[in-house]
């Protein structure tokens, strides 16, 4: 399940006096099974880009090709495309609506015309995947905590069995525990189901410990791509576009400038502890 984006452009208010270029000649390829982080400051075009991936926004010019198929070529294929690409919006819990957790998650599969047994199986396995216990299935989703609500909303997307999962800031506004739960589950889904994951986040620390590839977007253009090691060592380039490296990366850089001999490319706490332990004289 590879994604190919070719020469994608998008303007807000196209043709009006307020015309603004939101996406500017985006070209990129995401391979099947990748865990990709998309970073950029507010207004850089992240959300506009991800909404193109399941044809919520159609390209004004350029193409989105998923598994060799141009997703905007044939209108009758839209439903299939949207099943394949699951999009979890910012604050997805605002979209919960049904009387019970179970019914809310069942809404998508039911509308897809699946049998009751299949719907039941999918609802239960999706809720299990996001760590919502069976005793919560008959509760109103509105009685749950913020983190639980969000996981139910994500289960609703998983129940459609997407092959590509796009999450737009899934941890925004959650406390550290809620954040770790959601991101931990996303990581497990990526590992066990082998789905391709695209994660939009403002947290460099979260990105550093999860993804294998990073896309950096600024002013509607992809300005940097690479592994976390490649991207998070570019302190100046990241700062110039309003981003930063991880807290740990700054500590490692400052230690090196004070004469410590440390290995390169350290961005997470545990790596840093190991490296510093070896790097100090005792």
């Amino acid at each position: 399940m590879s994604i190919e984006i070719k020469n994608l452009c998008h303007y807000y208010g196209k043709g009006s006096a307020f015309e603004k270029k939101a996406l500017d000649e985006i070209n990129l390829t995401i391979e099947k099974g990748d865990f990709v982080g998309l970073i950029g400051h507010t207004g850089s075009g992240k959300s506009t880009l991800v909404q193109h991936l399941n044809a919520l926004i159609k390209p004004q010019s350029g193409n989105i090709i998923i598994d060799g198929e141009d997703i905007n070529a044939d209108k009758s294929r839209l439903k299939a495309i949207r099943t394949k690409v699951g999009l979890v919006f910012q604050y997805p819990e605002h979209q919960l609506f049904d009387m019970t957790v179970y019914k809310d998650v069942a809404f998508g599969p039911k509308n897809a015309g699946l049998s009751n047994e299949e719907v039941d199986e999918r609802v239960k396995s999706s809720l299990e995947m996001v760590g919502i216990a069976p005793e919560l299935h008959e509760k109103s989703p509105f009685e749950l905590s913020g983190g639980q609500k969000r996981r139910v909303a994500i289960a609703g997307v998983l129940a459609m069995r997407p092959e590509i999962l796009v999450l737009d800031e899934p941890a925004a506004g959650l406390d550290p525990r809620g954040r770790d739960e959601i991101l931990g589950q996303v990581k497990r889904m990526h590992e066990t189901l082998g789905i391709t994951v695209i994660l939009v986040s403002h947290s460099m620390e979260d990105i550093a410990r999860l993804v294998n590839r990073i896309l950096v977007i600024n002013g509607g253009k992809i300005v940097l791509t690479g592994t976390p090691a490649e991207i998070f060592s570019k302190f100046d380039e990241l700062e110039a576009i309003g981003l930063s490296s991880t807290q740990t990366a700054y500590i490692m850089r400052d230690l090196q400038s004070k004469g410590f001999t440390l290995p390169p490319n350290i961005f997470t706490v545990d790596e840093a502890v190991t490296a510093i332990s070896k790097g100090i004289c005792r």
């Binding site: 400051h41 507010t42 207004g43 905590s145 913020g146 983190g147 925004a172 506004g173 959650l174 406390d175 550290p176 525990r177 809620g178 403002h202 620390e205 309003g242 981003l243 930063s244 991880t246 807290q247 740990t248 700054y250 500590i251 400052d254 230690l255 004070k258 410590f260 706490v269 545990d270 840093a272 502890v273 510093i276 332990s277 100090i280 004289c281 005792r282």
Partner: protein, 288 residues
């Protein structure tokens, strides 16, 4: 130092809706605050930490009388929040900035939004003009005075929301996760404004999930299950790594690295919170 906010053993419960017909099947009330006593001095910068549901927002809403305690008392500048005829006086002294920038701006032009509060106080137009100009200046938004707010970034909108509060000339500003929905630039902008206002004498109560923000406060109050479980300066609080993790909170990465190095036998002083402190301590270790 003058105490501007004081709570004495306050208790607050949210009503739990039960859809069971059988009224004998009593659902226990949801206790959000369970005997909270805090006091905050004039000019302090206090951060309140706690996971979702720990009671920190409920506490914040008690400080300007949006919620009234079921038991105990809240005093703002010596006035109890239950004194109904003083409610407006209290709300004028305690301004609140909430999480979502889009829910707090009502007017179609930035300066009109900032003028809304003082207009409602019945302040003469010339003075409103002056207050609005000063408030926008204080948050660095003067250049946007005539702009429609929906074209602003999240951080800019929060700064306009803060200006709207400043125009009421408050003594205390409570920021209830006001940076939670912002990107890193927006967070830095809002924190810079909060620090500047604090330096000018306004008491700041900052509710946040971001430990790097809490590290900038004079004092941290940690809440869990409706109770205050820790209180102290950032350097003390952030050495309690295991306790903080136990109640679902983070510590700054520098504090965590220092903690783990110490466990591994590296001789580091306690109380390391920032990257600079860690680097300096490690340089000392290497020198000895």
């Amino acid at each position: 130092m003058e105490i501007v906010v004081k709570t004495d053993e306050i208790v607050f419960e949210y009503a739990v809706q039960s859809d069971t017909e059988d009224k004998t099947d009593e659902t226990p009330p949801n206790v959000a605050l369970d005997g909270v006593s805090i006091s905050i001095s004039k000019g302090e910068f206090v951060a309140v930490l706690g996971h979702n549901g720990s009671g920190k927002s409920t506490l914040a809403k008690h400080i300007n009388g949006l919620l009234l305690p079921k038991e105990g008392t809240v005093w703002v500048k010596g006035i109890s929040t239950t004194e109904e005829e003083k409610t407006w006086e209290i709300r004028q002294s305690v301004g609140m900035v909430f999480q979502n920038p889009d829910n707090q701006i009502i007017a179609t032009i930035v300066e009109e939004d900032v003028a809304f509060g003082p207009e409602n106080l019945g302040i003469p137009p010339a003075e409103i003009r002056q207050r609005v100009d000063e408030a926008l200046e204080a948050v660095g938004m003067t250049a946007f005075a005539g702009n429609p707010p929906h074209h602003l970034s999240g951080g800019q909108k929060q700064r306009v929301a803060i200006a709207g509060i400043l125009a009421m000339r408050p003594d205390i500003i409570v920021m209830d996760e006001s940076t939670a929905m912002l990107d890193p630039i927006g967070r830095r902008e809002v924190m810079a404004v909060a620090r500047r206002l604090n330096a000018e004498g306004i008491t700041i109560i900052l509710i946040t999930h971001y430990m790097d923000e809490a590290a900038q406060a004079d004092r941290i109050i940690v809440m869990n299950d409706g109770k205050v479980v820790m209180e102290g300066i950032p350097n003390e609080i952030f050495t309690k790594i295991d306790e903080l993790k136990e109640i679902g909170l983070d510590v700054p990465q520098a504090a965590e690295i220092a903690h783990k190095l110490r466990l591994g036998g590296v001789d580091l002083p306690r109380g390391i919170v920032t990257g600079d402190q860690l680097v300096e301590a490690l340089v000392n270790v290497n020198r000895n």
